[in-house]
């Protein structure tokens, strides 16, 4: 009797946890499922006001924006994510500088390429905007599946698994950074990363190679895919 009653109390004390779990919100988050993400980009905000979606935002509680989110033109959420993953020892300012210099270097490389290009076709194909190249690079490096080790009957099999969007992005960023760090030392990190980004945007380079390697292995191991459930 007492047991069931205490269970009752627990559930009434924490009414949202089950709801939270069902709404795909992080279960340790203090925000319940009714909280919505903030809108930082002024363009987005304008759209919301114009299309009349403002009503959905007005009377709902909004999560606070993360500390590194700004409405500045230097801000891009994916770049912020990249910076965070690049950072070590809490040196965010250094990473931000490195990212700025990397983008600058990308531009310089592309302009050099433009000046050296001989045909109009080549010239038109060159993208100058480092942000576009950055996004493209990450898109091209994102894997579709991942391999997980499953032990069956004493043997470990590499089983292809589906991968969430966040994990894809993380993998892509991690591989790009590792590819950047692989290069020989005298070249500074911004120069190395610039080369990596441009290569990845053109589907070349070691980061993309890693992705294709992974895809190849997934393809090779597709026979074990049923071990996910068996």
């Amino acid at each position: 009797m007492l047991n069931s009653f205490s269970n009752l109390i627990f559930k009434t004390l924490n009414p949202l946890s089950s709801a939270a779990r069902s709404a795909n919100v992080r279960c340790m988050s203090r925000y319940g499922p009714q909280f919505i993400d903030p809108v930082v980009d002024p363009q987005e905000q304008k759209k919301i006001r114009e299309t009349g979606d403002l009503q959905t935002y007005l009377f709902r509680p909004i999560k606070s924006a993360p500390g590194n989110y700004t409405c500045s033109h230097y801000f891009d959420p994916e770049v912020a994510k990249f910076t965070n993953i690049l950072m070590s020892g809490g040196r965010k300012a250094l990473c931000r500088e490195l990212m700025d210099k990397t983008f600058e270097q990308i531009k310089r490389n592309q302009i050099e390429r433009f000046n050296k290009a001989e045909t109009d076709e080549e010239r038109n194909a060159i993208i100058f905007d480092p942000l576009i190249i950055f996004h493209k690079a990450i898109e091209n490096t994102k894997p579709i599946m991942k391999l997980l080790k499953i032990k069956r009957g004493g043997q470990t099999y590499q089983v292809p698994y589906p991968i969430t969007e966040n994990e894809k992005r993380f993998r892509a960023i991690k591989w790009l950074i590792e590819a950047g760090n692989d290069k020989p030392n005298p070249i500074h990190f911004p120069q190395r990363m610039a080369i990596e980004f441009i290569d990845a945007a053109n589907n070349k380079g070691s980061a993309v190679k890693r992705k294709t390697e992974l895809h190849r292995q997934c393809e090779a191991n597709r026979a074990y895919a049923h071990y996910r459930w068996a």
């Binding site: 009653f5 109390i9 004390l13």
Partner: protein
Amino acid sequence: MIVSKPWNELFVTCRSVASIHVRSLFQTSALLQTETEGLLDDDEEFRVIDLKKTSQKSVKKFQREEKPVLPPRYTRMPVDQDWASVWPGPRSFHPATVPLPMFQGNMSDGLPPVGKFANAELMKIPNFLHLTPPAVKKQTEALRKFCTAWPEGLETDEKIEQHFPLEVITSDYCHSAPKIRDPKARIVTVKFKVKALKLGKHSKDKFKRLCKDNYSEERDDVCIVADRCPVRKQNYEYAMYLITALYHEAWNFAEWEKEKSEVDMEYYDWDLNKSKQSYVQLKCWPGKPNPETVDFNTPEAIKYRNAVTDLFNKGEDVDTLAKYKEAVKDILGLS
């Protein structure tokens, strides 16, 4: 059978949360009790089912006595009241007592400033509401019988300085403790302005250097704090001795003072510096520089001299540099 101690205790501890559940259980148990009672006592009357529980007395919730909240005091204040009685002494700000519409706080985005109620900023800052002119007047009137007239001939600050150049500051302390004395009472501060002393050009400079940190350039006064002796009288005598010694020493001219060089100068003298030589060289070009042939009283020379002197003596900033630039352009003959 169900109503027992454990349930009551539970009701006390988990009141807010589980009250509904427990109360309903409690009520059903009470109902069962009345039911059994009826069965035993009265067989004849047909018991009507009481679903809506109208016969039962509702348990009255413990109601706290609500005290009436009076309007704030300032709404009942007459305009011609004696403010000194309302706020007789220093007191931290109390919004209900102060009849003024006050706002304190920096608000942005066109929001109105924060009012006086629950305003921590108004409470933090010192207020002088106990020192309104009528209150001060009242106090001065009360003190008047203890005061003598302000002496004639001491109306202005300058006259006071002229007649009483020396200011001696001491402080008395009293403790209501086993020891009534305070060692701080021995401290004697002596202040005076340098212009009160008869000093020449050299002696003034020497005096200031001898005083070191005790001399303040902004106020042009010397402040000596004497506390090295245990008794106030001794400290006072020491301070007087110091002033005498400094004064007489300032008038002494020692042999080694002749070795004072350009580096030791406390101000920039254009005549003694290279800037004058550069000017002479400029004016005598292409000939040999000869100071006697150069006229230093032309307006441009004077302007240049003042500009350079100001740069060093007044300090270098945008204005002095601009003046210097103009002066140089003049002497170089540029537009």
